[in-house]
């Protein structure tokens, strides 16, 4: 039951985005984005702050509404009504920059809340699943603590486990390590690498270029709401096509 994520690796689009545009008032945040992501594929998105990376992946699970274009997730077109959006969200896990654990619930309850509410499972099943994923992110012994008792890195790993408990087919990461102290970044990246190796479909917004090299099938560079460059990691880093990509890479690889 627990390894169900590797079953869905048959070819086919996990996510298909066509002509996606979005405005905040007069400001065009996303401009005609086309993007296909296959099952099991890992895509890393990078780009300067404010270029629309977060907005793009938030559109994928309906946290943001888009005005033009179409998004399909697992073959289902994303509609605007809350019921169908909630269904899509249950299939798509998301991890944010800030480890948004629910402070009033124990680590275990954080992990069982959504499955108990949305899936037809007993408490015992939900807790077993939660413990399985907490072991996977290497913090089973913290299950009965509260979020405020954990370090940032541990909280972020719990956030990943919490998403996994819904057995999502796709995981979205929005700069999951950028709010962490340097010494905790590695533990979270390791968890993500492991997840990738198991065949999870992933979109990661991150500036961890080591992670991109190791894991990504494709790297996307965004600027001003547009996909400027999309390439394999080898070409992206050694041989970027677009001058803006070069500039960006030189800036983040420099320091």
């Amino acid at each position: 039951m627990v390894n169900s994520m590797s079953i869905d690796q048959l070819a086919g689009s996990a996510i298909s985005i066509k002509g996606l545009s979005k405005w905040y008032g007069d400001f065009k945040v996303l401009e005609a984005i086309d993007l296909n992501i296959d099952n099991g594929e890992k895509v890393v998105i990078c780009g300067p702050s404010g270029s629309g990376k977060s907005t793009l992946i938030r559109c994928v699970n309906g946290l943001e509404e888009h005005q033009e274009g179409q998004i399909e997730v697992e073959g289902k077109v994303l509609e605007k009504d809350i019921k169908s959006i909630s269904k899509v969200r249950a299939e798509v896990g998301m991890v944010f920059q800030h480890f948004n654990l629910f402070p009033h619930l124990s680590i275990l309850d954080n992990c069982t809340l959504a499955p108990l509410t949305l899936r037809n499972v007993s408490r015992q099943e939900a807790e077993e699943t939660a413990m399985h994923f907490l072991e996977k992110v290497k913090i089973p012994d913290q299950a009965h603590k509260f979020p405020s008792q954990l370090s940032g890195g541990q909280q972020q790993r719990v956030a990943i486990a919490r998403s996994l408990c819904m057995k999502p087919k796709i995981m979205l990461f929005d700069e999951p390590t950028s709010a962490l102290d340097p010494e905790m970044i590695k533990e979270v990246l390791d968890t993500m690498v492991e997840l990738a190796e198991e065949g999870m479909t992933m979109i990661c917004v991150t500036h961890e270029m080591g992670f991109a090299r190791e894991v990504a099938d494709r790297v996307i560079f965004m600027d001003s709401g547009k996909v400027v460059e999309m390439n394999t990691p080898e070409n992206f880093f050694s041989n970027p096509e677009h001058p803006r990509t070069k500039l960006f890479l030189s800036q983040i690889l420099d320091h």
Binding site: I82, R89, F96, N100, A114, T117, R162
Partner: protein, 251 residues
């Protein structure tokens, strides 16, 4: 002293009515505050507007004026209310307006990402409200609610103005009657007694809720973290209180 003992049955009947008025007011206030508080952070603009209008209207009218209007004004609309009901209506509407504002403040002091991460897990809006947002708001707003409840209990004495035979009014009757019969005013003793009774009621309410609050906090934290969390609570409380002052529609 003898006078007070002699008048105990009468005072007691007044106190009973005060209790009835107060408990009904508090229950209704808690309930209606919750509804309007939740409405004030709804996704639907219409609900937010209704809540804001309700809050602004009733918060900005003194309870006394509201009470006199309800009691003497409503009959002109063909809605004659007895003194008790009139008092209940005006106390509850004032209380709920303030209570709803406290709850809205509580919601606003929660980080926006709490709602977002619940939604991202697939929880529907009402599930997010019930399991994620509300539980985080209840404890921090408790102290403000104790304050409000205390005010409301004290304000039940205003019902005397429209002739509800509550505690203060029975005391007043005793004072007037005795003065008339003996020529000596027992006001000091009688009103002193009344004062003590109100004090004891409100004081025990405060003690009780701060105990409850401590228990609630304890039940969701653990040994070493206890201190840290209670200071978090204090912070959340002050935030929810200061959030009362700024007006900005949610999300």
């Amino acid at each position: 002293m003898q006078l007070i003992i002699d008048s105990l049955p009468l005072l007691f009947s007044g106190l009973l009515i005060t209790f009835k008025l107060a408990s009904l007011t508090l229950i209704l206030t808690a309930f209606i505050s919750l509804i309007f508080g939740i409405m004030s952070v709804s996704r639907y603009k219409m609900l937010r507007i209704i809540s804001i209008v309700f809050v602004e209207v009733f918060r900005d009218i003194p309870i006394v004026v509201n009470l006199l209007f309800v009691y003497f004004g409503a009959p002109l609309l063909g809605l004659a209310l007895d003194p008790f009901t009139a008092a209940l209506v005006s106390l509850t509407s004032w209380g709920s307006a303030n209570g709803s504002e406290i709850i809205r403040g509580g919601f606003n002091s929660l980080a926006k990402h709490q709602r977002e991460s619940a939604m991202a897990l697939g929880l529907r809006p009402w599930e997010t409200m019930l399991f994620v947002l509300l539980p985080q708001v209840i404890v921090p707003v408790l102290p403000s609610f104790t304050g409000l409840f205390s005010l409301l209990i004290q304000a039940t004495s205003l019902a005397t103005l429209v002739g509800a035979s509550e505690f203060l009014r029975t005391a007043n009757i005793i004072v007037e009657r005795t003065t008339m019969m003996t020529g000596e005013s027992p006001a000091f003793a009688v009103f002193g007694f009344v004062l003590c009774v109100y004090f004891v009621i409100c004081f025990s309410l405060n003690v009780l809720t701060s105990k409850l609050e401590r228990k609630l906090v304890k039940s969701r934290t653990m040994q070493s973290q206890e201190e840290k969390n209670s200071s978090n609570l204090l912070k959340a409380f002050t935030e929810s209180f200061s959030a009362l002052k700024w007006r900005k529609s949610h999300d």
